[in-house]
Amino acid sequence: MYMNIDEIEQDLGVMQLSDSFFPTGIFATSNGLEFLFTEKKIQGMTDLIGMIRINITQQIGPSDCVALGNVFDSASKHDFDKVIEADSIVFATKPIKEIRDASVRSGVQLIKCVTEFVKDDKILNQYQKHIIKNKVHGIFPVAFAICCNALKIKKEKSMMMMLYGFTVGIVGAALRLGLIQHFEGQKSIHSIKPIISQAIKEFSNKSLLEMWQFAPQMDIIQMSHEKMDSKMFIT
């Protein structure tokens, strides 16, 4: 069966926003991996996959994915108050300043970039105006949901893109740190696929009140990264 033009355009939107070439600054983040590597507390691909799994199942799955799902639904219904609420709640779930700041900076730049080529989406324009007036934070999962909705990408695909982008970001950081080699990078991404699918299944329809994140060891690692004197990565 052939894809119709709308489906092709939606998939091109998926490819565009998922591409590591898309400018959101995420290439400069390691989510604490750099600290683990410098302290020699991570060794090779198996540990790397374990770290990404914890990040997805305990941090961004139950918080960012839930926010994304809710914002996506609210944006589809043109309910901007709910978008503002999600922006505020997901911001509060990020206790580590470095991670929170990076998420806001990426989200704001994502919105700025997408508004350059999508001009007719009411929620996207409203969110951008609120960012300019400092009425919302512009945090990444909220910004990402709004942009995906504006490009008519489906909710589950949006979640998949965010989790895939997150995974590729950490794997890229591992490659640049010399923790793994390029084939192991792709093997790692392949191993993470079931974790991504499970997270989408588990978190795509939770309410904002069901949002949580609990990974105290990761929090400490990410806080320790903030204190490092010498570092390559923003987080």
Partner: protein, 218 residues
């Protein structure tokens, strides 16, 4: 939001990017211009810390919080060219909080000869090399050397010691730059640095008076 003029300074590791900034800022401050610095470091905050200490803490030429170090994830060229998001984000914060600034200097992390700045990030691009790389450097070209607004050749005092012929470097720079400007400098003694300052005042600040002077008149 106010657009504050921005210069990008790029060049290989050790060519003297930070040192050039440390020499330019006092000259600009002497003329009343208010400057802030974003230093994209490849691996540490050392350059930003040193500039903060030398220019802000010790000499009071700018507030300490206007020297910002930025990590680049091991991709210094990406951070100033393909994906300047993080730099733009910091600049937007500066433009919003410090609209009275006259100039923002963005130092790229040390990189190779293909470095360029995204035109959305920098209004003016200075590429700096030094004689220790050999007098072939300008002749070899590369995007940075060929496309920058101003090419700076640093450490000319070392030319004789490393067997680099400055006349060859000048001739090759003239040829490859196709009439675009270049300057030979020595950051240790300030030789030639005032000329770089003049290029900035003329081409970036458009010979306008410092904002503080304009405000005082009003």
């Amino acid at each position: 939001m106010t657009h504050i003029p921005r210069i990008g300074i790029g060049g290989p590791v050790g060519s003297g990017k930070s040192m050039l900034i440390e020499r330019l800022v006092p000259m600009l401050a002497e003329k009343g211009y208010s400057v802030s610095i974003i230093s994209n470091d490849v691996i540490s905050k050392e350059d930003a810390d040193r500039m903060r200490s030398n220019l802000a803490t010790n000499r009071g030429l700018l507030p300490e919080n206007l020297v910002i170090g930025l990590a680049t994830g091991g991709c210094p060229h990406t951070a100033v060219r393909e994906d300047p998001s993080m730099n733009l984000s910091v600049i937007e914060e500066m433009e919003s909080k410090h609209p009275d600034l006259d100039l923002i200097i963005i130092e790229s992390g040390g990189d190779n000869i293909t470095t360029t700045f995204s035109p959305i990030l920098a209004d003016y691009f200075i590429y700096i090399i030094d004689v220790a790389g050999g007098d072939k450097y300008p002749r070899k070209g590369g995007l940075g050397i060929e496309s920058c607004d101003l090419l700076v050749i640093n450490k000319i005092d070392l030319a004789a010691m490393v067997g680099a012929d400055l006349e060859i470097m000048k001739k090759d720079a003239e040829k490859i730059r196709n009439e675009k400007p270049f300057e030979l400098i020595n950051c240790k003694t300030d030789e030639g640095v005032m000329k770089v300052t003049e290029h900035i005042i003329h081409n970036v600040l458009l010979d306008s008076a410092p904002k503080s002077a304009i405000t005082q008149k009003v």
